[in-house]
Amino acid sequence: MTPILEARGLSRSFGHVRALDGADFDINPGEVVALIGDNGAGKSTMVKALSGNLQLDDGEIFFEGKPIEMTNPQQVSDLGIEVVYQDLALAPHLDPAQNVFLGRELPAKGILGKFGFMDNKEMRRRARISFDELGATVRSLTTPVGSMSGGQRQGIAIARAIAWASKVVFLDEPTAALGVVQTKNVLETIKRVRDRGIAIVLISHSMPHVLEVSDRVQVMRLGRRVTTIQTKDASVEQLVGAMTGALDFSEGSAL
């Protein structure tokens, strides 16, 4: 199978720090790949590189088998790739529906749409549908998201990504701030989205969550992918060992 998204030999330095040092990555359609690594291993930089938010020093990115240049986030969105950032990137003063459609507002019907008027009713209706599909409980579509709980905001951010992503979703630490039930919701959501054929990249420090939902785990250390492990063969010890370097894998050996 051709990976939907593949990176080969990505490198990027910030001053003296090599954040990415010839890193590889690949994910197939409908697959959940966990991207793990210790702090500073290059996970976030990798996400930035694969979402058009980072200029690369070196390396190639392939989308559906074809080499592409990722120049800006807009272009990457148009490909059907969405990112849920750790800070969620919601506008706290806007309501959930406004956030879901921010930057992609539906124009009002007819001539008014040409003047920049928006179809708020339709946007609210569709936002409601995305929240319901996700099982996200968003109690009010007209309250600013800044006044909502962490779980609700997380739900809104994920719903927004899923509403627009047709190919790949990146989730950066989606469960870090959540309670038990909300976490379970997010993990269920990941499975449901995967079943629709969308590829999911899960960045997480929580090994149990990684083992529960992922198909493969790619471990990063010091700016490279040190190994890829099939989740069904993996254990927490093995993952932690790979992350810290206690277990030595030569690149790709565990594929």
Partner: protein, 357 residues
Amino acid sequence: MTTTSSKSQAPASLDDGPGSESLIRRLVNLQSVWILGVLLVIVAYFAIAGGGKFFSASNFTQISQNISVLAILGVGMTFIIITSGIDLSVGSVLVFASVIAAKVMQGMGGTSGGAVVVGILAGLVAGGAWGWLNGFLVAKAKIPPFIVTLGTLSAALGLSQVITSGLNVTLDDSSLTDFGIYTKVIGIPGLPFVALIVVILGGILLHRTKFGRYTYAIGSNAEAAKRVGVKVDKHLIQVYCFAGALAGVGAMLYLAQYGTTTIAGQSLTNLNVIAAVVIGGTSVFGGEGSMFGTMVGLFIPAVLQSGFIIVGVEPFWQGVAVGVVLIAAVYIDQTRRAAALRGARSSRSSKKLAVKK
């Protein structure tokens, strides 16, 4: 709304049931609504204390005449403050635009319709150009808006003085001043009518269009807006440019009203406009505000001024009263907002959604 932080972590808080925010409650939470109450109380007081003199058509015409220019500036200022910016240069830009317009009209003969039209256009372009410069420096050079507009405040006024050698330019008998003094549109005097149109259009632009939505989004979380593809820099330049052009419109009304430029007369205009916008519930931290609030915020100082004169209080007290209202309005707004956010923010969450300081 006011669940404790521990409870917001609990599963139960995931579903508070639909409709827990009633319309009334949302209205109560809007600062512009209760500030309207304050305005009504002030009006009621003067109506009783001042009697028919306060509640006369001529008095209200006077009041609306006085705030026409400020209202137009307030429209632009509302947009800018919602982006979490500020524009201190409005008064100077107004002076500059009026000088350019008056000079052009004078140069072309002054009284004819054509000269007035060209003069008006020149004034609007002059205002828009200063606004563009403000926006460019804020968005592209990343200089804080306070500093940028403090600079252009000084520069625009200085250039106006250079152009005129510090002497006001007076227009005699132009059709512009005729409009300001005699024209009435559907019973409303010309200047308030123009202001009303600008305010309504500005309100629609802010509350109903994508342009307005992006203005809120940028003030709320510029980084988030950027990530979803909003062209933040371009939008900021447009907002400042729009505000500058509106200062040009304000300058035209001024010329129409007084028939002369007022080089020395606009030193407090910026502060009056900012005070009105803030009293009206627009947050100086950005992301929040309304055109309606700004209009209410404009009426409070104007009504106080006319009321004090009628009741026989020294009008100097108006400044004191406005200052008190301004500080009280911001304090209450701040407290209310903090209360609304308390409990919503989970204590375990280390991430701060509000990136704004």
